[in-house]
Symmetry: C2
Subunit: 388 residues, 2 copies
């Protein structure tokens, strides 16, 4: 049998679009100067214009103003700068932070670092579907609460939080609100003014832009403590030579998102889920069918090990992920799935499928066949069965 290469892993969603690369190349090899001011020479001005245009495009996409967007090296930096930066700049106002138990590792660990510095943290639990209770959140806000950081969409299950309600509560209570929108940006509607967000993190490589570029929305008038010093770049909020090719690629990636592509991606996800459910028992959806990203499907195949499924699918040319990708260098099961109430065994049997504009229907059908086959065979030889 001829092997196909089917990417339904992080690679699917982080593949850089060829048109993005084409847009970047001139800024590597031709319009390559450091962005500088009107006092400087022509190539510098060309680079500055590209930087300004990209910033404008990104600001427009999230309903922000030009001056409210700074560029970073990715969502990890954006999350760290947002959380540490706002906490350190405002520590006199309060020392209490509220977050969820399913945040991306960069939010989780940035907040844990503040915990060591004397901040107290409320780690909100989530429901079986992965949702934070807006009521719980409201109740946990106290006089000392400085910051709420709740992600827009989850990195492993795609569960989308109600950031509009959360943002409005924070606004009323005068608490800063940060949201990690790395996964949702460009996938579902996002408006910083509507959600009354103070700080929002996004990244290029999750929308087929280049790796190594992200952005942070910082509401006008908000002061943060810088994470890197060295000049006045990015409105004096982030030092370092601007990664102009990367930033241009980020803007291009936004431009390339077509209105219909989300519907297309959603159909691929439904096709895979329906196809697998029809042929296999004991398949459980981790997350929710409503309020979820179209780009992620997280399933647990009971009575099998996720690692074994991955290896067998890999031999058939299909790339998927188990547990948490960022954590896949360890064999620990995902803390996100555990927070959603999954047992150790259920978490280990979980497989995450990601979908993008680059996937085709026949890839989905090929994957359905392979998954059904692999899981059936593994279950036949598995020592763990429904009867155990």
């Amino acid at each position: 049998m001829k092997l196909k290469k089917v990417y339904l892993d992080n690679a699917a969603t982080t593949l850089c679009d060829k048109r993005v690369v084409d847009a970047m190349i001139p800024f590597y090899t031709d319009k390559y100067a450091v962005a500088s001011s009107d006092f400087s020479h022509s190539p510098g001005i060309e680079a500055k214009e590209a930087l300004d245009k990209a910033r404008e495009d990104i600001a427009n996409k999230i309903g922000a103003k030009f001056r409210e967007v700074i560029f970073t090296s990715g969502a990890t930096e954006s999350n760290n700068v947002a959380i540490n930066g706002i906490a350190m700049a405002n520590k006199k106002k309060g020392n209490h932070i509220i977050t969820s138990s399913v945040e991306h590792r960069s939010v989780k660990e940035a907040i844990e670092a503040l915990e060591k510095e004397g901040f107290t943290v409320t780690w909100l639990p989530v429901s079986k579907g992965g949702f934070v209770s807006v009521d719980d959140l409201k109740k946990s806000i106290k006089k000392e609460t400085l910051l709420v950081s709740i992600q827009h969409a989850n990195q492993e299950t795609g569960t989308v939080q109600d950031i509009n309600s959360i943002g409005n509560i924070c606004h009323k209570k005068s608490v800063f609100f940060h949201t990690d929108a790395a996964l949702s940006f460009g996938r579902i509607p996002l408006d910083v003014k509507k959600a009354k967000v103070d700080l929002l993190s996004i990244t290029a490589h999750k929308i087929h832009g280049p790796k190594g570029v992200g952005a942070l929305y910082i509401r006008d008038g908000l002061g943060i403590v810088k994470c890197m010093y060295g000049g006045f770049n990015e409105f004096n909020k982030r030092a370092g030579t601007e990664n102009i090719p990367g930033i241009v690629g980020f803007a291009k990636a936004i431009e390339l998102i077509e209105p219909n592509e989300i519907k297309y991606i959603e159909k691929l996800k439904e096709r895979l889920y329906d196809g697998i459910k029809k042929e296999l028992d004991a398949v459980q959806l981790n997350g929710n069918q409503k309020d979820t990203l179209p780009t992620i499907l997280n399933l647990t195949f009971r009575f099998v090990e996720g690692e074994s499924v991955i290896l067998h699918l890999d031999m058939r040319g299909i790339a998927v992920i188990t547990g948490s990708a960022c954590f896949s260098r360890s064999l620990e099961p995902s803390y996100v799935l555990k927070a959603m109430g999954l047992s150790h065994e259920e978490a280990h049997g979980s497989i995450r499928f990601s979908f993008s504009r680059f996937n085709k229907e026949d890839e989905i059908d090929y994957t359905i066949d392979a998954v059904v086959n692999v899981v059936k065979k593994l279950r036949e030889i598995s020592p763990i069965t429904p009867d155990n």
Copy 2:
């Protein structure tokens, strides 16, 4: 007259080599996965292999071990992580830092931030040639001294410090030694073991690699406080999705440095300097003729404004820089030149020429003509003359 485009500014030295871009492209659009472990799927393993190879290449180039090199978003991040990271991890050992008055803004401001946190700082002066006195440095080390940060080569004049002597002194006195080698890496010999360096910052875009990628050498066994949290990447020293295409480009840029190219670049520099000196009086070298980078020539043309020279050269298609590039959004004269004893007027009349493998001899000759012409004309109309 037909305009030529001659880049003798930062752009000259930061132009990304087309062969670097070609090496990066497959990692954007094909081998694009997140670097992951052996437990994961094939595209992830390919990305991991590329990451490992690049790390090995960079480690070899500076005489370091594989595990001593981590990737960052550039020299600004490397400098900040090195300085803040080592100071915060060891603040119980001492609170005194020694640095020079001509460091890159990212070192200068990272240390100023620590000054605000209660560290005391000795800002060593430099000689007219831009050199730190090794004796001065030795004398300023005291019981409380925790860290010495002295750059390898200066960003504006190319002056090269004697880091071998400095490193050995620090080693004997058990003081941590960091050096910012962003400008010197790949240009002059550099060996972390010989210079007994504890922390060393480098960046890709100064050797015709991509912008947005740097590296930090951290001597084996040294602990630092992370600047960004979010997972165990980079030996648990730097979180964030690895910028694999950028890292591959960094390694390619190193591979492309030919043994003879430095000699070639040096000749271009000498040709320009000699050509200008032959035709113009009152031209002063900022820096030194010995112990200097072949890639930078910093001259002051007395009795003219650097900004005017830049504009007139720009009209002739020649890009150069005045003052400090990173600072060129302001009209303040360079603090580096001021620290070297230049007057306000001398600093304002300074022009920095940068040279790279991409420059040709006829570009140099064209530039000599243009500079001589422009400076002569400006001097004719200048209100400041030797007689004023």
